[in-house]
């Protein structure tokens, strides 16, 4: 016990004197968590609170074009900037290059006429089905032949964001189309225009969509960027001890300390145990610091606060196993790496890869099937699932056992591989 205590003291001293390593282990993940959360939060706010600048060139002179612009305005997502209808598309594109807007919409010349023709066609078909007399003088225009609305978008717009803009525009178009069909039908039946109040009653829907996050504790706390990011970057930080711990093992091997330690009447396992205890404490400290920053500092920075799980014992156990897994991984890299360059390179790249396939960088549900299989071997995946179970779903330890058991199994395998490596290299 005395030898272990002396070794832990030595490891703590070495750790504290490696200021860059400490900086890397604590400051970097904190900066990462703040930056990523702030960016994701501002994206969230941009979509929900701010408006997207939208240039509209309405070349149509009829009512449908104007109605479409009005419907888009009602969506509330866009800041509409109408441009002269005679402005050539080339100049419109030029304005987008100047970042006047990220999206531009060109409503074609005959939009109203074609919309009306389409409505007449649908109304006729409907009346025909009802058995009502059909006005055969009205032309039936194929919908497929209608000139499309053109949406120009700046290439910086990401696919998901573009799709949500597209969805908003499509719903506006749907309103205009439905209104036109309704008016035509009403006129055909009653020979009078559809009253505004009735139109509103028919078009507007009162059915709201209540978005309720599922939770085990019934708290229904709405998840935010902090709640998603803090657990992910905490795991990332824990696994990045590979740089410090791995290097410390490589350094011992290279500077000959291993040789001296091997000729001393103490088993090298004491040194390994000491390193594990020291760095396990470091990983737990990392988690505590990052969680505290999320819970207390983030709100002061205008970011959403981290809601800590109710099951704090569960949080401690998940962090403990995650930390031990990170330490075991670092030890394995340190044992097999021959140089500092190998250790840092292999360590950093493998953590990033495991984070990617583990769902830290891209949500696991969005991954292709082949990657979902690979995901199961990433300890970061199981750690993230366990944290999400506690932080997002309001679960308890028993609810995340299914995640921490594989994590524990991976840890045991990493430990065995490290010991095997030490034995092969005649170090223990």
């Amino acid at each position: 016990m005395y030898k272990l205590r002396a070794t832990i003291l030595k490891d703590i001293r070495l750790l504290l004197r490696d200021k860059v390593g400490v900086l890397f282990m604590f400051i970097m993940p904190v900066i990462l968590a703040i930056v990523i959360t702030a960016i994701q939060n501002s994206t969230f706010e941009m979509v929900n609170d701010n408006k997207v600048p939208l240039l509209i060139s309405n070349k149509d002179t009829g009512v449908s074009g104007a109605a479409l612009v009005k419907a888009i305005e009602k969506v509330g997502m866009f800041e509409i900037r109408q441009v002269n209808k005679d402005l050539p598309d080339k100049q419109l594109i030029e304005r987008m290059h100047n970042k006047d807007a990220l999206v531009a919409l060109v409503i074609p010349v005959e939009f109203s006429a074609k919309m009306k023709a389409k409505a007449n066609s649908i109304a006729n078909k409907a009346l025909n089905n009802f058995g009502a007399p059909v006005d055969t003088t009205k032309t039936i225009v194929s919908v497929a032949k209608a000139e499309p609305i053109t949406m120009y978008y700046h290439p910086v717009l990401q696919e998901s964001f573009r799709q949500s803009i597209n969805g908003a525009l499509r719903s506006s178009l749907q309103i205009v189309e439905s209104k036109q069909v309704l008016q035509t039908l009403y006129f055909s039946l009653n020979e009078t225009n559809l009253p505004d109040s009735l139109e509103k009653d028919i078009i507007n829907t009162d059915v709201a969509i209540n978005q309720v996050p599922v939770s085990r504790d019934g708290a229904h706390t709405i998840p935010n960027a902090t709640q998603h990011n803090i657990p992910a970057w905490t795991i990332f930080a824990m696994f990045f001890v590979v740089i410090s711990l791995g290097s410390s093992i490589v350094k011992e091997k290279l500077n000959g300390s291993f040789i001296r330690l091997k000729t001393m009447p103490t088993n090298y396992f004491v040194a390994l145990l000491s390193k594990q205890i020291t760095y396990l404490f470091v990983t737990l400290l990392q988690a505590a610091v990052i969680f505290a920053i999320g819970a207390f500092l983030f709100p002061k920075m205008g970011l959403p606060a981290l809601n800590l799980p109710h099951d704090m014992a569960g949080l401690f156990i998940v962090s403990l196993i995650c930390g031990w897994c990170a330490v075991s991984f670092a030890m394995l890299v340190g044992v097999f790496a021959q140089t500092h360059e190998q250790c840092n390179g292999i360590g950093a790249v493998s953590v990033i890869l495991m984070a990617a396939i583990g769902g830290l960088l891209v949500p696991s549900f969005a991954m292709p099937a082949s990657f979902k299989l690979a995901m199961n071997i990433s300890p970061l995946h199981w750690a993230l699932e366990a944290y999400y179970g506690l932080f997002l779903e309001g679960g308890k330890l028993k609810d995340v056992l299914i995640n921490i058991l594989p994590l524990f199994a991976i840890t045991v395998v990493l430990q065995l591989l490290a010991i095997l490596g030490l034995k092969r290299k005649n170090l223990v």
Binding site: Y2, K3, R5, A6, T7, L9, K10, R13, L14, R17, D18, N255, G256, S257, I259, R260, L261, K262, T263, M264, P265, T266, V270, N426
Partner: protein
Amino acid sequence: MGNAAIRIQNLGYSYPGQLRNCFTDLNLEINEGARFGLFGPNGAGKTTLMHCMTGLIRYTTGSIQLLGNEVATFRKSVNKLFAFVPQDFSLYHELSPVENLEFFGAWSGMTTPAIRKRTQELLEVLDLASLRNKPVQTFSGGMKRKVNLAIAVMNNPRILFLDEPTVGVDIQTRHVIINYLKELNRNGTTLVYTSHQLNEAEELCDTIAMIASGSIIAHNSLNNLLTEHKEDGLEGLFLRLTGKSYIDVDVI
């Protein structure tokens, strides 16, 4: 002849994956209390033999006994009998001499009061007291050599293996180190020393062995060997026994 501190019998060893044997049937006996020097050209097998004696390498055949204990069988008890000063600095450069001695003292099985007492003694004897709390990485090569030696002798080993203990040090530091080694020997520690500094070896060693291509080609007291080969110094003896042309057998 006194009791054997080290007895090597029919030692055989070859590096993994190599057909050529490093040692074949090597025999050597070093008396307790000796100041023994092992010399030979580069690649002759000095360091490998020292690694076999300290258990760092597991020999293939034969036997090595330290004070009657077989190295391969009684690893833990044997490790209590000796200490090793490797050629490389085997210490923690970020720690101070005191912190290094505290740690390695604990690993030698010493108690806290014993560590404190011995640390104080060694810092005084090796002239390190004024640097006791400074990180070793700020030291000169000579100072680092002294700390490297101090760590090894913390628990007063009965046998001390020294692989080039004075490489790159100035004359004053060498003087301090050699004098201290002699003092240790007077107190009963057997020294097993290897170096290319033949003048220094001549001053320190009373018994020597010459090794070439994995075989002991001469082993006797220094004086006897000098008389036998009609040489007045170790350098001349070395050249006579190992040849004047450059030899560097790799790997051994």
